[in-house]
């Protein structure tokens, strides 16, 4: 069977588009993915289109009516929150089977307002428990608490982390930091999930172009192609309580186990994870379902920052469904977009995350277990700063500027601060390399400025390894 590659993928920025049509939203993402691959709709041999809200509405065919009716087979896919991922997987299977070489997968959704799960007519809601999605996903968190003592704060930290990641992603619906107190103090929707622990209800679309290895080579696209090492899907194994409380773990565990086997790796080999954080409780439970930690250790994993950007195995660096948004049919392909980003698109945030990922890969290479490489005899620890983040105050001129240039030349990412905004802008321009330099105006005599400097450095580069406190503070300056 042929290996299958992603040669083009993209997503629109999720948001609220009540004036657009579902096929129109799908068409936008489809054209973006085709452009990313450098191909046209004429190159596509089949289309799989995922959408839930208009599952009977022939969305795929209507999308082709907008971007080119070439007569290709269209399969419309509806599979709950896995709708987009299923469209992608179906496209993958047809290439695996040798039926097609080039297939387009699209996911799209235009969401209504309000809580998911509402139906019409007489409802047992409230009289016989709750049938809202927040309640169902609250239960999996509470069950985890019951088993392992997981706390409200530990669940809330998932949102703190993913909202923090959102500051790096221009395609996030929301891009704001939310401190722990704010997450825990927000309106409770279904305990322990507060409003800031529920995914964002938005419209959106995402699309991917999948291709057989033979075709990738024929078109010379191998330098941009991302190989799919495995895809698995499961339904639930029988679980005692699933009729009373849906079991979201059994199927996930089964699919993960099979996917690892198909890819020939184990969870310890994974450097980066995008998972379905429809609620903060879900992300924590999925750490264990995916084998990122042993059962019962998910709370410790979030406490230790292991799943944050810069941690052992960053999860949802995209900011996840919690910030990026969750347009049901598009979500699955949007998650893949984060893992297999379009190399030709030079967005700064994507570039930053890619740079980080490369760094994470280096750290985890066999034989490279130690995060910090120890200097060889005669070698200064300062000779190689690759992957390190240096903060240099008073960096706009003089010694500070020279230190910043030196650190950059040794491979570091550099944050310079200075009290003089104009000098700082000049220095930033002179240092070039926009992805490696961040300039922040700060008066080091002001606590708030210093805190903001630290926040900006971490938001941009994920960590700080080196601080050169070069800015001079004189007694007069403190008056």
């Amino acid at each position: 069977m042929s290996d299958v590659y992603v040669v083009g993928i993209d997503m629109i920025r999720f948001g609220r588009y009540p004036d657009r049509t579902v096929p129109g939203l799908a068409a936008e993402a489809a054209l973006m993915a085709l452009d990313d691959a450098g191909l046209t709709i004429r190159d596509m041999q089949a289309l799989f289109c995922g959408n839930l809200g208009q599952a009977a509405g022939m969305v795929g065919q209507r999308m082709l009516a907008e971007i080119g009716q070439t007569g290709i087979p269209v399969t419309n896919v509806a599979n709950a929150c896995a709708t987009g991922a299923t469209a992608f997987r179906d496209a993958w299977m047809t290439i695996k089977a040798g039926v097609y070489d080039t297939v387009l997968a699209v996911g799209v959704e235009q969401m209504g307002k309000g809580l998911l799960g509402a139906g019409g007519g007489v409802s047992p809601e409230g009289l016989v428990g709750s049938y809202t999605m927040p309640a169902m996903f609250a239960h999996i968190g509470m069950e985890h608490s019951r088993k392992y003592g997981t706390t409200f704060a530990q669940f809330a930290k998932v949102s703190v982390k993913n909202h923090h990641h959102s500051t790096l992603n221009a395609k996030s619906m929301y891009r704001v930091e939310t401190p722990l107190e704010e997450v825990m103090g927000a309106e409770i929707i279904s305990y322990p999930n507060t409003k800031l622990m529920c995914s964002v209800n938005v419209d959106g679309s995402a699309a991917a172009v999948l291709m057989s290895e033979k075709k990738v080579r024929q078109l010379g696209l191998m330098d941009r192609a991302v190989r799919i090492r495995g895809s698995e899907m499961s339904s639930n194994l029988f679980a005692e309580r699933q009729a009373a409380m849906p079991d979201f773990s059994a199927a996930t565990r089964l699919a993960a186990t099979n996917a690892y086997e198909q890819a020939g790796i184990g969870p310890g080999d994974v450097n980066l994870v995008e998972l379905h954080d429809c609620f903060a409780t879900a992300e924590l439970v999925h750490y264990e379902n995916l084998g990122l930690c042993a059962d019962g250790e998910a709370g410790r994993l979030i406490d230790d920052g292991d799943t944050a950007l810069g941690g052992r195995v960053p999860v949802n660096v995209s900011s996840g469904l919690l910030s990026k948004g969750h347009p049901l049919g598009a979500t699955g392909i949007a998650n893949i977009y984060e893992i297999a980003p379009p190399p030709r698109q030079g967005r700064r945030a994507a570039g930053r995350r890619r740079a980080y990922r490369a760094d994470a890969c280096r750290r985890r290479r066999p034989g490279g277990r130690d995060r910090l490489r120890h200097p060889r005899p005669g070698e200064s620890v300062m000779d190689d700063l690759s992957g390190k983040v240096a903060v240099i105050t008073g960096g706009a001129s003089g010694i500070g500027f020279a230190l910043a240039r030196g650190a950059l030349q040794r491979g570091a990412k550099v944050v310079i601060s200075d009290i003089r905004a104009d000098a700082l802008a000049e220095a930033e321009a002179a240092l070039s390399g926009e992805d490696e330099v961040l300039a922040v105006r700060a008066d080091v005599a002001r606590y708030d400025d210093v805190a903001a400097l630290a926040d900006a450095a971490i938001a941009r580069f994920g960590t700080v390894n080196l601080l050169v406190n070069n800015a001079g503070v004189f007694a007069a300056g403190l008056a």
Partner: protein, 136 residues
């Protein structure tokens, strides 16, 4: 006669009960009437039973936001009935406060009539209440 809110809630001519099924092959107990076992896949081995009226609280969440017209907060409870069935219901008679609700607390099934959201007349439904000896 009053309609019931869900098919497994039976009026029983004035002695209401919850309908269940027990698999004659593997012993699994299910809520509601059915003919095939989801656990062992046996067919035509199901015997209809009346579900137990006592059990323990396995899991809960406190619902503060629900569909329009539904009064909140309320406690959504997952109860392990003493006959092995697992069932969802609303737990009343406790403060809707996670610090005041204990996993495994004993609960008892009670039937009552209530007007559901979207309706203009009462339906037969059930609730869980703390059983004697419950700890909070």
């Amino acid at each position: 006669m009053t309609d019931s809110i869900l098919p497994y809630v039976k009026s029983g001519d004035g002695a209401p009960y919850l309908a269940g099924s027990r698999c004659g092959a593997c012993g699994q107990v299910f809520v509601g009437e059915r003919s095939t076992c989801a656990k062992c896949t046996a067919r035509d081995k199901m015997e209809p039973i009346h579900l137990a009226t006592t059990g323990r609280l396995y899991d809960f969440t406190i619902v503060h936001r629900s569909f329009p017209g539904v009064k909140t907060p309320f406690v959504d409870a997952i109860v392990d009935l003493d006959d092995g069935a697992h069932i969802k219901g609303t737990l009343i008679g406790v403060d809707p406060d996670p610090a005041r609700i204990a996993f495994d607390m004993p609960v008892r099934l009670e039937f009552r009539e209530a007007i559901p959201v979207g309706a203009d007349r009462p339906y037969l439904t059930y609730v869980f209440v703390p059983a004697e000896g419950a700890t909070a």
